[in-house]
């Protein structure tokens, strides 16, 4: 699936991935790839502008840690991020069921 098709959904997908627990950028990219069975084959660099945007919006928070001698930024879902994720899920269910009804 092309990155263009994911436009508008990437923020929700990242929040859903972080629902499982804190993760760094590479781990989030791998989780998205694995949970979509490889369907989400987006340039992984696009995750970072989205993560920074979500952080500026207070939906995720992040801290530095050191792993194998490398500095790493680990992201977590905030309470506000959790609420936004619930809203996105509801909106998506409504939208997908409406589209399904039309396409079926």
């Amino acid at each position: 699936m092309r990155a263009e098709a994911l436009k508008g959904h990437l923020d929700g997908l990242i929040l859903a991935t972080l629902k499982g627990g804190p993760a760094h950028g590479y781990a989030i990219a791998q989780a998205l790839r694995a949970r979509s069975d490889g369907a989400f084959d987006l340039p992984e660099g696009t995750l970072y502008p989205a993560l920074h945007r979500l952080e500026r919006g207070g939906l995720v928070s992040s801290v530095w840690s050191t792993e194998a001698g490398r500095r790493r930024r680990t992201y977590s879902l905030t309470r506000s991020g959790g609420r936004t994720l619930d809203e996105r899920r509801s909106e998506w269910r409504l939208l997908s069921s409406a589209i399904e009804s039309v396409l079926a």
């Binding site: 990219a29 340039p43 992984e44 660099g45 696009t46 502008p49 945007r53 500026r56 930024r73």
Partner: protein, 289 residues
């Protein structure tokens, strides 16, 4: 050139600040190191220039909106200071123009306060309104960002003119007005000036990040749909607005001063000042093409 070097160079070229660049470079270096650990030869990050460009465009949009809203808050503080100090002055009685240190100083201060406050109100509100209307879009066209920044800059310059005029008024009437009023107005003007300078810096910082995103800039007619009929008639727009504000000023002064002549004088001045400001700033704030 390595992926990271190309990425960092593009961020620098786009004016992204050093601290932000450093954080991004550290995160992307970790990402590439993770890929190398599982023997991914060609990074899956995507094109370095595109990712850096996307980041700069989102950052420029976000910072511009933030600066416009911050400027509006600082202008609101200045407006509260101006209204309170003028209301208190009205209660104790306005001194005559020629009762202060120098009549020209009094006139300059009053005209600057009246015009500066109105320009700041109009431009600051338009900038904040546009920032709010487009708050959900991660990346705005460069022309749109420039429009919001111009509105914010003009609003802040007018706001600073107003607070400087408040201070000038205080200095001019030092020996005439009560000490408590001078202290109150001086303190309001000083605090509001500090807030406006901070907002100015935030707006200047936001314009350091370069966006090249394509797309048109909006205008006042997108912001205020009832005005759309006047989009291609700038002369009609300025005439109607000048008549409306001049008329309102005439009625207010007539009622307050019980003098129709004085009302007409002040209303006429208001209408002329509005027309002059439209000619000066109309294009910059998207009120005419």
């Amino acid at each position: 050139m390595s992926w990271i070097a190309e990425f960092e160079e593009e961020l620098r070229r786009r004016g992204v600040r050093a601290a932000t660049r450093e954080r991004l470079v550290t995160e992307f270096s970790d990402h590439i190191a993770c890929e190398q650990e599982v023997r991914i030869e060609l990074t899956r990050l995507g094109a370095a220039r595109e990712i850096a460009g996307q980041y700069a465009e989102e950052l420029a949009s976000e910072e511009t909106r933030h600066a416009a809203l911050g400027a509006f808050a600082a202008l609101a503080l200045a407006a509260i200071g101006l209204v309170v100090s003028q209301a208190e002055l009205g209660r104790i009685g306005y001194p005559g123009f020629n009762h202060g240190a120098a009549t020209p100083l009094a006139l300059i201060a009053i005209v600057a306060m009246v015009i500066g406050a109105q320009v700041a109100l109009v431009c600051g509100t338009l900038a904040a309104w546009r920032a709010l209307r487009r708050r959900r879009e991660p990346s705005l066209p460069a022309a749109e960002i420039a429009l919001i920044q111009r509105r914010t800059t003009i609003a802040l310059a007018a706001g600073l003119t107003t607070t400087a005029a408040m201070l000038l008024y205080v200095v001019n009437f030092l020996s005439v007005l009560p000490a408590w009023w001078l202290a109150l107005s001086g303190a309001f003007a000083a605090v509001a000036s500090g807030a406006l300078v901070a907002a100015w810096r935030a707006n200047a910082d936001s314009s350091a990040t370069v966006s090249v995103a394509q797309g048109p800039a909006g205008d006042v007619f997108d912001d205020l749909p009832p005005l759309r009929l006047l989009r291609t008639h700038p002369l009609r727009l300025v005439t109607l607005t000048a008549l409306a504000t001049g008329g309102a000023m005439t009625l207010i002064v007539w009622h307050a001063e019980h003098s129709l002549i004085e009302g007409l004088e002040r209303g006429g001045f208001e209408a002329l000042a509005l027309a002059a400001c439209f000619a000066l700033f109309g294009r910059a704030i998207g009120a005419r093409r």
